[in-house]
């Protein structure tokens, strides 16, 4: 394989990665809806406390932060994808 031109396998892998990134971008809001907008939320927000703070607070803010982190991870890759 020559060094400057990416081989077919490499290009294929890149395309796969891009597709996966886009799919992940589509999945992220769905994940958010599942975690925050379904009765599932009740399972994790029972009336218990961890160190004095209701776990509902932990759950809501924790999930929120998690979602922000995931978006942060995806954003640069998606951006790269949209400006080839």
């Amino acid at each position: 394989m020559s060094d400057n031109a990416p081989s077919f396998m490499e290009r294929d892998q890149q395309a796969q990665r891009r597709r996966k990134t886009r799919e992940a971008a589509a999945f992220l809001p769905i994940l958010g809806v599942i975690l925050l907008l379904t009765p599932l939320i009740s399972v994790f927000t029972q009336n218990t406390r961890i160190g004095g703070i209701p776990n509902a607070v932990y759950y809501v803010f924790g999930i929120w932060l998690l979602l922000i982190g995931l978006t942060r991870l995806l954003a640069p890759r998606l951006q790269q994808d949209s400006t080839p």
């Binding site: 886009r22 971008a25 589509a26 992220l28 809001p29 958010g32 809806v33 925050l36 907008l37 379904t38 009765p39 939320i41 009740s42 399972v43 927000t45 029972q46 009336n47 218990t48 406390r49 160190g51 004095g52 703070i53 209701p54 509902a56 607070v57 809501v60 803010f61 929120w64 932060l65 979602l67 922000i68 982190g69 995931l70 978006t71 942060r72 954003a75 640069p76 998606l78 951006q79 949209s82 400006t83």
Partner: protein, 886 residues
Amino acid sequence: MQPLNLLVTICLIYVIGLFTVAYIAERGAAEGKLKFLRSPVVYTLSLSVYCTAWTFYGAVGSAARNGLEFVAIYLGPTLVFMGWWWLLRKLIRIGRTQRITSIADLISSRYGKSNTLAVIVTLMAVIGTTPYIALQLQSLTLSFAAFTADSGQTPSPAVTAFWVAVGLAVFTIVFGTRNLDANERHHGVVTAIAVEAVVKLVALLSVGIFVVWGVADGPNDIFARMDPELIKGGQIFTPRWVTLMFLSSTAIICLPRMFQVVVVENAQEKHLATASWAFPLYLFLMSLFVLPIAIAGQSVLPPGSNPDLFVMTVPLAQEQTGLAALAFLGGFSSATSMVIVAAIALSTMMSNHIVLPLWLTLNKARNPQSDDVRTLLLRARRISIGGILALGYFYYQLTGGTDALASIGLIAFLGVAQVMPALLGGIFWQGATRKAAIAGITSGFALWAYTLFLPSFGGAFILSQSLIDNGPLGLSILRPYGLLGLQIDDPLVHAVSWSIGVNTLVFITVSLLTTPRPIERRQSVQFVNVFGRFSPRSGQSHSAEPEELLVLAQRILGRDVAIKLFNKTAAEQGKARGLPDPTDNFMEKLERDFAGSVGAATAHAMLGQITGGAALSVEDMIAVADETAEIMEYSARLKTQSEELTKTAEQLRAANLKLTELSEQKDTFLSQVSHELRTPMTSIRAFSEILRDSDQLEPDKLKHFSSVIHTESIRLTRLLDDILDLSFMENGQIKLNLEDIALDKLITRAVITSEARLREGETKLNHHDDCKEITLHTDPDRLAQVLINLISNAAKYCDAANPEITINCRRNANQVEIDVSDNGSGIAKSDINLIFQKFSKLSGDFSSGSAGLGLPISREIMRNLNGSLTYIPAEKGALFRIILPV
């Protein structure tokens, strides 16, 4: 210093600071400096106009009343920004390519640049936003009052609100309508808002940190003080939770001010990638300390204190005046940034969609170029801003302090959310039509007004209290809070279900039932496929005069920009000087640029006035649609034509070849004929000269000479007869004596006639007598002539030691084949094509006994008898085949 004076001073210094920031930013942007102004950070911070005073103060109030519910207001936008790749990116791209100036412009542009829709959305936005502005004024006056409550110097709320409104109007007019940017971006305002966003965040975080670690002893201590009823386990997920999430996620797009900062003020698409996580993070930080502040307020302050002011009253109660002042500034920032952006967005919508179309209609008769549209627009915007703030102020005066105003935040959210179905349908579904958008939005809006907005006044406005309780005319089934008997305790959830549900259903149904107009179809393609490629339109010219266009462009875009644009286009069209031709592409670009200043519908209408209102007719659309088909047909035609040409050229070449050949043949024929005639003539002349010149000749010799002359004359006559014969036959003038004759009899006759010649070479003639039964209707003499010719040829050219000639007859279905063959070496391959030609010499073996006309004559005879004569290359010897029909 008195608290009031202190507060006023702080506010003034702060406002002067904002003016300075905005001014520097505006200057910097104009000079192309201050690159950081266009950074994703500024964009993200400017999005914080979402957090108004209502959220700054109200979130704590909501948390104090309903626990975690307030988070939903922030989680909705978070979800939308997480899906930025699919929705916001598309919106921004559309906004850029179509030069969208507002949410009303987007809807109107998508649905065929309909001004009706633009007006509807604009009115909705005004109705939904005015109370919201009033709410900001109320928050400001309340915080003002709370700050100065102890000093006894509290100014009247009306006065505070008035001066705040005036101040905001001035700021907005100065920086919001400085010029008509073709892209509708306001760098000064955006930068000032970004600064305010930082102030908001810092204020809330400071108060939060103070509460958690100053008032209480860390997070655990704060939550230990919490009323256990506030967050009850497993009770977060309620219909209201879902409703709030839905409303807030639509609000982040549909609120006029949000659309303004998210789409219109977006400088670069890539900023969105940063904002996608940074803005949710901002919201996260804004809400992190809301619960602790609420809990602290409940535990520190006396019962009955207004939880909506905890952000300020908690530090005040703890003697932290500086912190309280910071909190006040935070609230002040929230309120002012919201009002400024909302006023800009609304004034753009009002001037573009209401004032300018009205002016155009009123001035139709006048020369439309006599006034400067830019001046008119700027004036309209300034007046609109003043009007909007005045409306907000009066609204506050009428309803201030009532529950009606406090609950208006979410009510306004639902009002503007009615645009959502038309918006989403518009950018993802090509089949959505203008009529459907109008029907959906108006029905949703009417339901919203009936089930939520009007009843929220508690009987004070249009709907009376008894109507709200019992339904109109006592029809309880039509009660605003229980339409058709729907039992939902929360009016908000009830109204969302009805208005959004009906809106969406009507929108989809009407879309399916109606057909879009041509211009809608074009716009729908450009919106839904904004990331695809558009086929460039044809370069056909419009009827517009370039001079008129330039005048109009100068009025809307400004002199310099317009001239620059026209020069550039002219250069692109390959014109060294002068104005560009009004091609489709140019007109489209002009319309977009105009739309960037005055909105799509107005731009369309204004250009329509110049082009005679026919910027896009049905015929245009059909032509565009047919263009492809035409091109395909044309290319197919070209292909056929070129094929035909090739064929014709081929035929011509063949004909030419044949002509050349014929000409050669003619030459050969003439030279042959003269040669053939010359030989006997020569001998005749020679012998006749001898006869003439010699007086005394022996009788023997005399006899010999005269017989030679005689023979040669006969030969000459025969030759001429042959030529005449051939010429007759070739022209089809031969006279045939047709009669019925038995074939074997005819062959026998020919054989007998040939016997004389055969004896010379001792050739053996085999006649297979198998044609007895066959009777032909033909010319016997001619056919015999052919046979004799073939037999004598065979006898003459057969080079075998014991020459043998065979005649065979065969009868097929409807024809008779007569083969005449010999046992010689046959005819050389190269000569086969020549034997039927006149005077042909076969390989130089030319006997003077024949003029070489036998075979051509025979063939012509057979042709005239409807038969054929062919040479069949046999294994051995020559084989000529006569075919005759029976």
